[in-house]
């Protein structure tokens, strides 16, 4: 079907932002009206005012920032290690078709198992806290990225590699100019998928295994029926992921795959 009108330029971008924010604003109005007219018990669902107040309080006493910082820190740390290990390993496995076909079922097995399923054993191995949660994030990202890197490298046509080799590319040039650029779209897709699993794993793990972080904030509020804190946490989680995914990962994915002409827009 047709897509929306022409874009580009500052005015176009502002209009796009407005088109994105307006429906959400309408939803907030709807929420406020619904809570008021049906006189909903705040222990079932909070009003807009209560959530805003809870947000202001949490910002004022620094707890919200603390929870966000803890969650994002864990994600950044676990993801960084996963990328540092996953990409080289994926490239190494993908270079030879025989090796790739040997390892891909293994990586696939572990990437379908990635994330939440590791929470019970991670908490036993590392105890409750930073170690267990970072481990869950690490393995959610690691296997998916390694698998996608392997797929990316092994999908590079052999003639391209042979051409580079016969033009005198050494091992290093082959790596930096053929293998990594060729696999980049897949690597970025892997990072996006892996982070999606990791983010959910993070929230689940924080509910179970820690005393700081957004997941903990939600789950602790449940004990006191503080629905306004729960909803605040949900909104924060949604906005953070939306920002991370739409402003960072999706443009990166579009950039890399358009650059190499994998996608027709």
């Amino acid at each position: 079907m047709t897509t929306s009108g022409p874009r580009g330029g500052l005015a176009g971008r502002a209009r796009a932002a407005a088109a994105f924010v307006l429906p959400l604003a309408a939803l907030v109005v709807l929420w406020a009206v619904a809570v008021r007219t049906f006189d909903v018990d705040p222990r079932v669902f909070p009003g807009v005012g209560a959530v805003v107040k809870a947000g202001a309080e949490a910002i004022a006493d620094g707890t919200l920032i603390q929870h966000i910082a803890a969650s994002l820190g864990r994600v950044a740390f676990g993801t960084a290690i996963a990328l540092l290990l996953g990409i080289p390993l994926g490239v190494a496995m993908g270079v030879s078709p025989a090796v790739a076909s040997f390892f891909s079922p293994l990586l696939r097995f572990f990437s379908v198992l990635a994330g939440i399923a590791w929470i019970p054993i991670a908490t036993l191995w590392f105890g409750y806290g930073f170690g267990a949660i970072t481990f869950v994030i690490f393995n959610a990202v690691f296997f998916v990225v390694a698998y996608n890197t392997l797929l990316g490298v092994s999908s590079i046509p052999m003639p391209v590699r042979n051409a580079a080799a016969s033009l005198g590319a050494g091992r290093f040039a082959m790596l930096t100019e053929v293998l990594l650029p060729g696999a980049l779209p897949n690597i970025v897709t892997g990072v996006r998928t892996g982070l999606g699993f990791a983010w959910r794993g993070l929230i689940a793990a924080e509910m179970i295994a820690t005393n700081v972080g957004l997941g903990y904030m939600l789950f602790a509020a449940r004990d006191f029926y503080k629905t306004e804190v729960i909803v605040l946490g949900m909104v924060v989680i949604g906005l953070l992921w939306l920002a991370l995914d739409r402003l960072l990962l999706a443009p990166l994915e579009r950039l890399t795959s358009e650059r190499w002409g994998m996608v027709r827009a």
Partner: protein
């Protein structure tokens, strides 16, 4: 790089011969491809456990896990929990799909609905299933409703978003052609838009089930009355790593089989990701 002239036969190295043997073996017996790689892994696991590199209580070997498997199957716990988990996933996914495809068609075909609902959809997808658990527990308590809600929610969004993408990727020419050949709007949806969107719908379904299955594990761990997730977390409370590992192996094998032998082939059969069914066939 080895650039040998054809007239000078180069003896392949041992490593190259191993690779060639592997390629020959998997071409002869394709099943080997998905089974054999796990043999060295099992071996390494067995050796690590046998030499007690880690304390046995924290890292049991494959033999212990297999014994527990037989034991739990014999007691009937494992089959029952497995049936519970799969049943919940299937029921939740069915409801999710039944809601998602009509919604996707609506948002994909009506520009007004798209303007109004697309950002809302993206936001609620971003909130994520698991973040709903605390408030669902307040609303519905620890029970089946909570778990079903979480799975429906998880499956819904990837399917809706991908259905919309699929429908919007159907070339307008095709819709116009069908219309000018006298197709009613309902027929356009049924015979042009839905088939055109099918590859995307299947991709969405595969993603949704992947997420839904993870959400189910999380829900079973937190809500926990039965199911594989509950088995694992119950074992964690008792400190029984064997049962946790068994749970992970069962989950991994089950999902690997479903994904590799059912979902991936269906997705491939409905046309490659960028392919258009309506155009090719």
């Amino acid at each position: 790089m080895s650039t040998a002239l054809p007239s000078v036969p180069v003896r392949p190295t041992a490593w190259q011969r191993v690779q060639r043997a592997w390629v020959r073996a998997v071409t002869a017996w394709p099943a080997l491809r998905s089974i054999l790689p796990f043999v060295p892994l099992l071996g390494a696991w067995w050796l690590t456990a046998a030499f007690e590199v880690f304390p046995k209580a924290f890292f049991p070997g494959p033999v212990d896990v297999a014994r527990t498997f037989v034991d739990l199957v014999y007691k009937g716990i494992l089959p029952e929990y497995l049936a519970d988990s799969v049943g919940r996933l299937a029921a939740g996914a069915a409801v999710g799909i039944a809601l998602a495809i009509p919604l996707g068609v609506l948002i994909g075909t009506s520009r007004r609905a798209h303007t109004a609902l697309w950002p809302v959809l993206l936001f609620f997808q971003a909130v994520g299933d698991i973040a709903w658990l605390p408030i669902l527990l307040v609303w519905f308590g620890f029970g089946l409703t909570t778990m079903t809600f979480v799975i429906v929610y998880t499956v819904l969004f990837p399917v809706v978003l991908n259905t919309v993408l699929g429908i919007r990727s159907v070339p307008t020419d095709l819709v116009r052609a069908a219309r000018s050949l006298g197709a009613s709007p309902a027929r356009v949806v049924w015979e042009v838009l839905l088939p055109g969107a099918l590859p995307n719908i299947m991709t969405g379904l595969r993603n949704g089930l992947g997420y839904g299955w993870r959400a189910l594990i999380a829900a079973e761990i937190i809500v926990g009355t039965s199911g594989i997730g509950f088995l694992m977390f119950d074992a964690r409370r008792a400190g029984s790593v064997v049962e946790i590992m068994l749970g992970m192996v069962v989950l991994g094998v089950l999902w690997y089989a479903v994904d590799a032998w059912i979902l991936a082939p269906i997705e491939r059969a409905t046309g490659q990701r960028w392919g258009m069914v309506t155009r090719d066939r």
